[in-house]
Amino acid sequence: IAGTSKAAHSDVAPKKKKGPGALATAYLVIYNVVMTAGWLVIAVGLVRAYLARGSYHGLYYSIEKPLKFFQTGAILEILHCAVGIVPSSVVLTGFQVMSRVFLTWAVTHSVREVQSEDSVLLFVTAWTVTEIIRYSFYTFSLLNHLPYLIKWARYTFFIVLYPMGVTGELLTIYAALPYVQKTGLYSVTLPNKYNFSFDYHTFLILTMISYIPLFPQLYFHMMRQRKKVLGHVEDYSKVE
């Protein structure tokens, strides 16, 4: 599930709390700049590979390493919430980051056959654009110089990117199903001395089903945030 709604509520929450100290702010600025740069690298990588090959096919391989590196690096954001330098819910952030990490490693990396699917390009593109906007949004917010354009982009692009990402993710998981079933990937059967069994194929199907209740909730949450943040265009456009 695309992480566009991650920490959205922290942007509009009244700033009652003290917020991170100077050192934490410096660290967070560096973190967000690095992440913005990382996803820009991925974006550039995609464009260059497309121009070189002349087709959309198999672009995953050209950005596989930076994708894994920077998407996995987002796990730090869970730590940021746990430590308190970012005022977001650990559970919510954890859930969103881990769902991205799951798709990157447990589906795309693990099931080689789906790596050439076009659905992978669909969600990678959605993630890339989303993350570039999101991390630059955080960078500018931390520096107290948030251009309205970035704020607008963060709360508008998701309208298309979110469904796009979800579609790519679901199609990719669906494509992985037959291979997982055939090879028994990550599955454990009885009997064994731990008296435990796990069917990864069924797990993936359940994961796909879980998108049905979860995606609308997250999507409409972002919609509500959008109204709140962008609603008062006249008052807030010069402030920040």
């Binding site: 009885l190 009997p191 064994n192 001395k193 731990y194 008296n195 435990f196 069994s197």
Partner: protein
């Protein structure tokens, strides 16, 4: 007698919801809640939260009007706690589920395992022992709910029953599925492992029960007083010297015993999740004790002696 006036405002909107005149100064919050209920029948007393400050803590039912920092006209703020359900009802429901569900798997009721196994019994005696222990545990809990525990709160929010039952019933089904499975593998170290596990389990069940009795005896019937628990003549309560919430300590021990007995990963997982939740509760209780009692014994830890 100088009567008091009471006005009740909505904590969020500050709307005037109710004005009570001729209130006795020695009236309790509980009595005021009953009066408020008369004018607003949809808000029975259990779902009323009455505070002095819109964002403050709830006042207790026992608090007396004239002892509160209010003038002749007391202004209270009301928040609706939502539909409530009694703790006893929740406990009975959440514990009866695992008892019955586990038995369904034990007797291999149809549609769980392959049809050729319907209504068969396991050939491993540890599976029968595990069923007895699991059933004993939940029967004990049901009886304690009915006859031992003295609850501070009468009710909890209604949505909790769905959350709690999902947890208990779900885990019971997951564990029972594997323990009673036709392909179940008994513990590696056989009789030795099972015997040790049973000793640990029984020891902790008795311990847990002893603590529940000790806590009950701290509190006279119908009261909500809170006192520091101390070791009694019962050796199982001597753990109070080192731990604030030994009921949780013993509960953890019981489930560790059951994990060892069944050698089953879902049981281990259930034990872990329960331990995490009980630790959160124990830390909270420990903090409350420290806040409320100046002379609280400093040697005690919340749940694990010296560690946690």
């Amino acid at each position: 007698i100088r009567h008091s006036y009471v006005e009740i405002l909505d904590a969020k909107t500050k709307d005037k919801l109710c004005f009570l005149d001729k209130v006795e100064p020695n009236a309790t919050i509980g009595e005021i809640k009953s009066m408020f209920h008369k004018s607003h029948p949809q808000w029975y007393p259990a779902r009323q939260s009455i505070r002095l400050d819109p964002k403050g803590k709830s006042l207790k039912d026992e608090d007396v009007l004239q002892n509160l920092p209010v003038g002749t006209t007391a202004t209270f703020y009301f928040r609706d706690l939502g539909a409530q359900i009694s703790w006893v009802t929740v406990f009975l429901t959440e514990y009866t589920g695992p008892l019955l569900i586990y038995l369904m798997f034990y007797f291999r009721v149809p549609f769980i395992y392959a049809p050729k196994y319907d209504f068969t019994t396991s050939k491993h005696w540890v599976v029968h022992l595990a069923c007895m222990c699991h059933s004993f545990h939940y029967v004990k809990r049901l009886l304690e709910t009915l006859f031992v525990h003295r609850f501070s709160h009468g009710t909890m929010p209604l949505r909790n029953i769905f959350k709690n039952c999902s947890y208990y019933w779900g885990f019971a089904a997951w564990m029972a599925y594997y323990i009673n499975h036709p392909l179940y593998t008994p513990p590696i170290y056989g009789e030795q492992q099972i015997r040790l596990a049973l000793i640990i389990f029984l020891f902790c069940q008795i311990g847990n029960f002893s603590i529940h009795i000790a806590l009950r005896n701290l509190r006279p019937p119908g009261s909500k007083t809170r006192k520091i628990p101390y070791p009694t003549k019962n050796p199982f309560t001597w753990i109070f010297l080192l731990v604030s919430c030994p009921n949780y300590t013993y509960e953890l021990g019981s489930w560790l015993g059951f994990t060892l007995m069944t050698q089953c990963v879902p049981v281990a997982f259930f034990t872990l999740v329960g331990f995490i939740q009980m630790t959160v509760w124990a830390k909270g209780k420990h903090r409350s004790y420290l806040k409320e009692f100046r002379d609280y014994p400093p040697l005690r830890s919340p749940i694990l002696p010296f560690i946690l």
